[in-house]
Amino acid sequence: MRPDPRRILVHCPQLETARVRDLLACAMTGVRGAGAECRASVELALAEVVNNVVEHGYATTRCGPVWLGARQMGGDLRVVIADRGRAFAPPDGGLPRQMLRDAPLAELPEGGFGWFLIRTLAREVRVARRGGLNVTSLRFVLRADGPKGRIVPRRVLPSRRLRPTLRESRKEAVMPITPVSTLVARAKARIDTLPPERVRDMLDRDEAMLVDIRDVRELSREGRIDGAVHAPRGMLEFWIDPESPYHKPVFATDKTLVLFCAAAMRSALAVATLRDMGLSNVAEMEGGFAGWKDAGFPVVQDQLS
């Protein structure tokens, strides 16, 4: 008889605090047979690990990829959580020392319970650094309800030592995707958006270069802005990077690159990516091509051939 471990893998490409609940809910669907109290303990320990990853591992961005693999054999639950955050050494997990004596209220800790809870609720905890990843392994013994609830029985004895790895997982549950509107909003929060009038002034003073990132079919259908360099979004990074074999010298400029698309959504994502590449002289035009037209500035309609 072959063992039939329940396995689950949750991958969250951009985990942030606001999505930890989704991740936990997703992970807990893989835990079967445990009583409510036991499930609550598992969920709390996982929450503490994942919150630490987001708040401390990804301290600067408060956002990053997290993988969670779990494997259950009867009452034996092993969970592996991996992240690309900075390396850390987990504290020994004692209670904050103020809790061990009658400290006055003002000295009570407002934090520091996380690793204590993890170590208390899980049977085993290990943290390792492997290939740029923090790998936190937890083991739980699952029990049925009640203070002396029976350990969830093993229906099948494992034929080999259980070693959960992310790669081994057969069943993958991917979290609901981040809406593109959220991506655009996040991008806009960290880039410059210039009104068309301002762009026009910069063009007049030779301080800016307009970059049209729309699809070539949009240009012929909707018209274009005279003097704008067309760089479809698919090629943008490759044309701009001087080290890329596709680099175009027109982008080697001190002028501010002002990107636009049809309505300033794609341009927000594109500018954010260029910022990630290290470009500082890059912005988007508010309202995109439509915004330019609405401001009363001229567009060119090429003859349809």
Partner: protein, 114 residues
């Protein structure tokens, strides 16, 4: 954060209408307690009957709320669900806070909701 408030035997009772006080909710929770408690006097009782999950961020928010009310006013807890009671016991916060096993809901009716 939605929080129902009423007075009961001279105490201000606050009931957060959420099922989780976790890292996402902690700051809003602490601010809501502070805002609701402002302008009243006496002890504040948190009715956690609707809360099934508290993590260390939630604990931190409760400790911070306690400190904000001190030294004149006390923060007390009531109606803890078993998983929540367990977290308070493990961290020994149950020795610092007054915890009522159940709150007799002899209420004057919620004064103001939301």
């Amino acid at each position: 954060m939605e929080m129902t408030a009423w007075t009961d035997a001279g105490r201000l009772v606050l009931r957060p209408e959420v099922s989780r006080i976790d890292a996402v909710a902690a700051v809003a929770f602490k601010d809501a307690v502070r805002d609701r408690a402002a302008g009243a006097a006496g002890a504040v009782v948190l009715d956690l009957g609707g809360v099934g999950f508290i993590d260390s961020s939630g604990l931190g928010a409760i400790v911070r709320a306690m400190k904000q009310l001190a030294p004149d006013r006390q923060l007390e807890l009531a109606n803890l669900q078993p998983p929540v009671a367990k977290v308070f016991a493990l961290t020994r916060l149950d020795r610092v806070l007054t915890i009522h096993s159940r709150l007799d809901r002899v209420r004057d009716g919620p004064d103001h909701a939301a």
